[in-house]
Amino acid sequence: MANRLVIIGGDGAGMSAASQAKRRNPTLRVRAFEKGPVTSYSA
């Protein structure tokens, strides 16, 4: 199974994917890259 997950974009969609993937597979190494200054769920 995969072990390196990369997310492009730190808004609701990307961070929802990051969170769920990590919860389901705690051995994943998750890195998210966001070009802006903040992450957000409500945008």
Partner: protein
Amino acid sequence: MVDDTDALIARTPEEFRRKLDIEVHTEHQVIEIDAKNQRVAVQAQGAPLRWEPYDELVIATGSAPIVPSWDGVGARGVFAVKSLEDGVRIRQYIDSEQPRHAVVVGGGYIGIEMAENLRHLGIETTLIEQLAEVMPSLDPDMGALVSQGLRDLGVRLLLQHSVSGIEVKSGRVRALQTNAGIIPCDLLILGLGVRPVSELAHAAGVKLGVKNAIRVDPYLKSSIPSIWAVGDVAESTNLITGQPGYVALATVANKQGRIAGLNLSGASIPFPGVLGTAITRVGTLEVARTGLTLAEAQNAQVDVVAVRIQSETKLGYFPDVSSITVKLIADPKSGRLVGGQIVGGTGSGKRIDTIAVAATAKMTIHDMVDLDLAYAPPFSDVWDPVQIAARALVSKMSQ
């Protein structure tokens, strides 16, 4: 299955790291996806480019406001709007430049919300829309009610008007050129909708679909193995037509993110699709829609029958009773509900969820008539307005 409801709460990068063991690098821009070697090029300010390898990649690059190619679109006082953050920039401009005449181009969600806010600030506001009524995501007969709501707020509406250009003086917007003449303004808001930010994906060879959104399968995989796409950059399947569509809504984005996250870590869950359910408010008027409009049904070559009824939000002896207008759209053969729209006073809008649930469950309008919905005088008449509409549609179909 673990379902992370905590994830619905906004978190800082530090919280992601500490609570979830997820690294978030803000002010880091991915400038290239090398799909062949499964790596992305990451650029942070003042740092050398670095390559980051992946086994699975999620593209969630979102959407950006549509910016037309008119001359002067970059002038001071012109704002292409997508989200709240744009509102902050506009507020700074208003505070420092004290504009007196605003023009809003586009009568969708963003345009009407901007127009209302500008009126609250006491700024003279004109809204320009190409179509016959505002709110193109509603049918024109329902949009007309919203148009009236905007006029009641003191917004001047120019419907069926198109824009040809922007006049600029000393670097700042001076007027908007339209097919009906020049409209002077010192603030110009462009609410022309959004487009998916899919250039990065496209350059990597990922297949695009509707409106250049990333084409995804039901599991939210893109056309390239190990690359997934979610949110405003991705397509979503229309629940009624089964066709791919483009709906840029936070509700859809979060659901797609959740499912892609589960799938890429071993699950196999299809995303069922969307109705494009949405709600907003103009003054005291609540506006909501779900499923197909008549125009969308026609485009998808779906045969439909529709009805529109006007009723009240609660029993008439309450001082805060309001008018509510409900439109329902159904398949004339099976009676299956395919869409609905609501415009009315306080207590109207969230009734759209009844219609959205019914459409998702593939209910017919006959099923809706028999639904056991809540009733007490402060909330509804014994027949909920949604059911009054369903009954009207049943009798129209039996004629």
